[in-house]
Symmetry: C2
Subunit: 256 residues, 2 copies
DNA sequence: GCCCATGTCCGTACGTCGTACGTCATTCGC
DNA sequence: GCGAATGACGTACGACGTACGGACATGGGC
């Protein structure tokens, strides 16, 4: 694994790819390609959705497209750039019509829910989105629309940026647990439930109630209703409520 | 890469390793080993701290210990289990003396700051901690101590669990950006600054102020003081403030 | 209508990874 | 001392990303 993730090559080439500023081959000699960037990206996204990012290899994507691995390099400089393209591509699914409307609270809630839904659809996108982002058209659009939801509330520009970043970070944080677990599931070929039921008796052997009294009372290990208490949606709803309450305090302060 | 991350083998073996319930080799025949689990884990953590988790290979860790790759398999079932051990190991650095004290707000703030500091020391631990956790002694201790900081506030057990999870998720979310960027840096061999200055002119070519007016005003791409506005500590401080404000609302409700 | 520059396609190969297997050397209980 | 159990580790396999270069199709300029 040389380049890990994200494009590392020529920035100009990366940007041209992201914004699809191809030469569009205005009648050059040479055979027509059956492939194009969009088809490759779509195939890669399909693989990632179904089997996780680790299943996305150049060989695999090429095979799904009925071609050989090296064929892809004619359209995409490398895997890093392909991953960048994948991320920007799925970001285009956000806010299909227009930015969220309503009260500031409704708008921010909608932003959080749309982002969460996107990440649940494409779990592999979570930790990509946390890193150095590909400055593609869909990321730009997302950023613009999200900033608009916190515009005109009396906040400073810096506060607006921080707020959008906070909300995105929160969603990533709550989803990443689900995502990492899902990745582990298909990597290990064992579901969350099976893993817990396999691990629980062994955990119980080491779980000392005297050393961990509070965890024993509250925690998911001891509790019977582990599932319900640990349900990711509940974590999300709970956290969103707290976060919006806290943002409300800020906005109240700003408006007076 | 067969097992990706986290142990997938025998749960009993994993737990015995995590809790160091070794047979302690009470005089068995065969040669003495110069290695033990602790030395292997420590070496792996050192590599991960310095060069990222992707630099942690069995060959590399073995080389740093002056031995061959396969030697490690006598002490550790596989890489997944080693990673589990690494994570639980560094979690032991949290709350060196006792749990945080003071007001609920001071306690929660301390929890957030200690976790953040840990993740900044060991960036690779961030996305491991998000997944299926290794139920080792240090994770148990962390969970117990953090639950105690929200005990006795009039919250339900479920709310206590959710609160601890929320705080941890927030810290992970804010740190993961820093971490992913750092990983990308050493993978690409280019610093954040260099990347931005290399990318900025190309970004500007596609950045349409008419399409993205709000982003143009607020965003880090256009702004001169990108650095200061985007500083990760500022994001953390800002988010923590909002979060604690929101938690305050909940605690106020619970106490009346 | 032909030529060749400009493409695409892809087989091969190298160096990385995790780790299964088998051989060998060491060191204990007796 | 000696048999047996155990640690060390060389070799090998199949995955990975991708550099290289040959085979081949195509279209514009003449």
């Amino acid at each position: 694994m040389a380049t890990e993730f994200t494009g590392t090559g020529d920035p100009a080439r990366s940007m041209a790819l992201l914004w699809r500023t191809a030469a569009t081959s205005d009648r050059r000699p040479g055979p027509k390609s059956a492939l194009d960037v969009d088809r490759i990206v779509a195939a890669a996204v399909t693989v990632a959705d179904a089997e996780g990012l680790s299943a996305v290899s150049m060989r695999r994507v090429a095979a799904d497209l009925g071609t050989a691995a090296m064929t892809l390099y004619g359209h995409v400089p490398g895997k890093g750039e392909l991953v960048d393209l994948m991320l920007d591509s799925v970001l285009g699914e956000l806010y299909p019509d227009r930015p969220p409307t309503g009260s500031w609270r409704a708008r921010l809630e909608a932003v959080a829910r749309e982002n969460r839904a996107l990440f649940l659809r494409h779990p592999w996108a979570v930790h990509l989105a946390a890193g150095r982002p590909p400055l593609g058209p869909h990321l730009m659009r997302k950023y613009e629309l999200e900033l608009r939801t916190v515009d005109g509330l009396g906040l400073s520009d810096v506060q607006m940026g921080l707020l959008v970043e906070l909300l995105n970070g929160f969603v990533r944080g709550t989803v990443s647990g689900v995502q990492e677990r899902a990745t582990a599931e298909q990597a290990a070929g064992i579901t969350e439930d099976r893993w817990w039921t396999a691990m629980a008796p062994h955990a119980a052997r080491f779980f000392d109630v005297e050393r961990f009294p509070t965890a024993a009372r509250v925690g998911p290990v001891a509790g019977k209703d582990r599932q319900t208490a640990h349900a990711p949606e509940r974590s999300f709803e709970f956290g969103l409520e707290r976060l919006l309450d806290g943002i409300g305090v800020l906005i109240l302060d700003a408006s007076r």
